[in-house]
């Protein structure tokens, strides 16, 4: 079985934010919630890089470990999903997540959070595949249709890669070898530990 991962080639990302837009459109993500975002570091300085970041679907996911209601589960493809039926919106996963992936619709009293929303790797939730119930809570389930996440599929510079970890790592390695530089697979060290990168 494949181990699905994201890899953003920061030397190719042009900060067009199309991945962000495509994600929001595909899943009809509510206003104020971003399952994916593009962060520019060293903005305006030498060495400026943009990185598209979402849930990295970590090995031994911190969100799952701190969740009081154990609402997370990892699929056979290594995708970390969660159940909005079990989520109580406590916010712990946001503090544990190294990538700022969990998002909360703000509702109710004080700063109280609604049920957490995050990148599903376009793989829906615990409901049956491509049912209206699943779509309403988690958006579309492209993986069940044999498609990869929309953000990577439509990336104009092919900076954002999605697919089996070994395969996209190989693609990236070939790129780095051919062009002679690369700033690393962002977040892989933190997300997957053993698959550490520079």
């Amino acid at each position: 079985m494949a181990r699905m991962k994201f890899l953003c080639d920061a030397d190719r990302c042009i900060e067009c934010n199309a991945c962000v837009t495509a994600c929001k459109n595909e899943h009809e993500v509510p206003w104020g919630i971003n399952r994916r975002r593009v962060v520019t570091i060293n903005d305006g300085k030498p060495g400026e890089r943009s990185i598209s970041m979402a849930c990295m679907h970590c090995t031994d996911a911190p969100c799952a470990a701190v969740c009081p209601t154990d609402c997370f589960f990892t699929t056979a493809d290594g995708v970390v999903l969660h159940s909005k039926d079990l989520c109580i919106g406590c916010g712990y996963c946001f503090y544990a997540c190294p990538f700022g992936a969990p998002q909360y619709p703000r509702l109710g009293n004080f700063g109280s959070r609604g049920k957490m929303d995050k990148c599903t790797y376009c793989a829906g939730g615990p409901e049956a595949d491509n049912t209206p119930a699943e779509y309403a809570k988690y958006g579309s389930n492209r993986l069940a249709e044999g498609k990869l996440p929309i953000c990577a599929e439509m990336c104009s510079t092919k900076a954002l890669l999605a697919g089996d970890g070994d395969i996209i790592a190989q693609i990236y390695a070939e790129r780095v070898t051919r062009r002679g530089y690369g700033s690393g697979a962002w977040g892989w060290r933190t997300a997957y530990k053993d698959a550490a990168t520079g």
Binding site: P46, M53, T69
Partner: protein, 346 residues
């Protein structure tokens, strides 16, 4: 930044790039010069490599985002893994040892020492120890604290202890209500702590008598012969300050958590508030368990102080001798209430 880049150049060259295999296959004289115009040597082309930024920023990689949520500019915060470890391991051990340990200590203590009796027996006469406002403040704090404890412990330990019994759905529903109760009861709890602070602080200033009281083993080990105390004994003062300071800290960290990123704006600050809230709460729960024990099964006549507000005179003399004397002398100097007649005047 440029200075820093130069300084770390060797490091980066070693740690380099991509996926290990890529680094190995890279030619030493890569055509990287064009990519790094600011660099005097072309050895390290990747100014923005993750590891380099981690070293520079000591953890967090912060950037710029074009979306309104500026928290999203924090690209990677590896200390989330430490938060994970704290919640999965540290807090569980701490809670188990503090709360479980205290329960064991109390049971063992009860078996050895038994109930602390009123040695002179009940006198049948009572003296007012706590008035209505004092008891209101106590029970306001106590009742909200008990619900806060149960719902708070549920967040930390319910997944292991309760969920297997209730099933995930029922547990999630119960936890959802628990969270709402936890949020709302924070207000009466805070009010109760503040009330108690104002009402009782004058009787709880530590002094030399407390040192003697502790030196004599207090009311428990000293077996009923500690030095007589004023209104509150040294042990009670400890409880008072634990509740005021601990409860205050729990309230402050709790409100920080309830209004995320409002009072505290950094990720580290929010993580610290969450962790402190857990640690202090567990310690306070352990202390309050001992308090509940002494106020109920542990000591004869003690519950009446917070129950009816009137304690037996012999209990008061044995536990708060100086206080009884103060009250009596104040009573002797007072004028008789209007309409009062001497005993036996009829």
């Amino acid at each position: 930044m440029t200075h820093f880049l130069t300084r770390l150049r060797g490091l980066i060259a070693a740690a380099a790039l991509g996926l290990g295999l890529a680094a190995a296959s890279l030619p030493a004289t890569s055509p990287a010069t064009a990519q790094a115009p600011a660099a005097p040597t072309p050895a390290a082309p990747a100014q923005a490599s993750e590891q380099m930024l981690f070293n520079y920023l000591q953890g967090n990689v912060q950037g710029r985002v074009t979306i309104p949520d500026q928290r999203a500019a924090l690209l990677i915060q590896p200390q989330g893994r430490e938060f994970q470890h704290f919640h999965r391991t540290t807090l569980k051990w701490l809670g188990g040892i503090a709360i479980g340990g205290m329960l064991v200590v109390l049971v063992v203590f009860y078996m050895i020492r038994g109930k602390v009796r009123i040695e002179a027996g009940l006198s049948g006469r009572t003296i007012e120890r706590f008035n209505g406002l004092e008891r209101f403040a106590h029970w306001l704090t106590a009742s909200s604290f008990i619900v806060l404890c149960i719902t708070g412990l549920n967040i930390s330990f319910g997944r292991e202890l309760l969920m297997p019994l209730m099933g995930p759905e029922a547990f999630a529903t119960w936890s959802q209500w628990g969270k709402i109760a936890h949020n709302f009861l924070s207000f009466p709890f805070t009010l109760g702590v503040l009330l108690m602070l104002v009402i009782w602080i004058k009787d709880n200033i530590p002094n030399g008598e407390d040192v003697k009281w502790f030196a004599a083993g207090g009311g428990l080990i000293g077996h009923g012969h500690p030095p007589p105390t004023r209104r509150f004994s040294g042990g009670q003062k400890v409880i008072f300050w634990a509740v005021v300071l601990g409860g205050g800290a729990i309230a402050v960290t709790g409100f920080i958590m309830m209004f995320p990123f409002q009072f505290v704006t950094t990720m580290e600050g929010m993580q610290l508030a969450t962790q402190l809230h857990g640690i202090i709460s567990i310690v306070l729960i352990a202390i309050i368990l001992a308090h509940i024990y002494l106020g109920s099964v542990g000591m004869e006549g003690a519950f009446a102080a917070m129950g009816s507000g009137h304690v037996d005179l012999n209990w008061a003399k044995e536990h708060h001798g100086l206080w009884v004397e103060e009250m009596m002398s104040a009573g002797r100097g007072a004028a008789a209430p209007e309409g009062a007649r001497k005993a036996g005047a009829d």
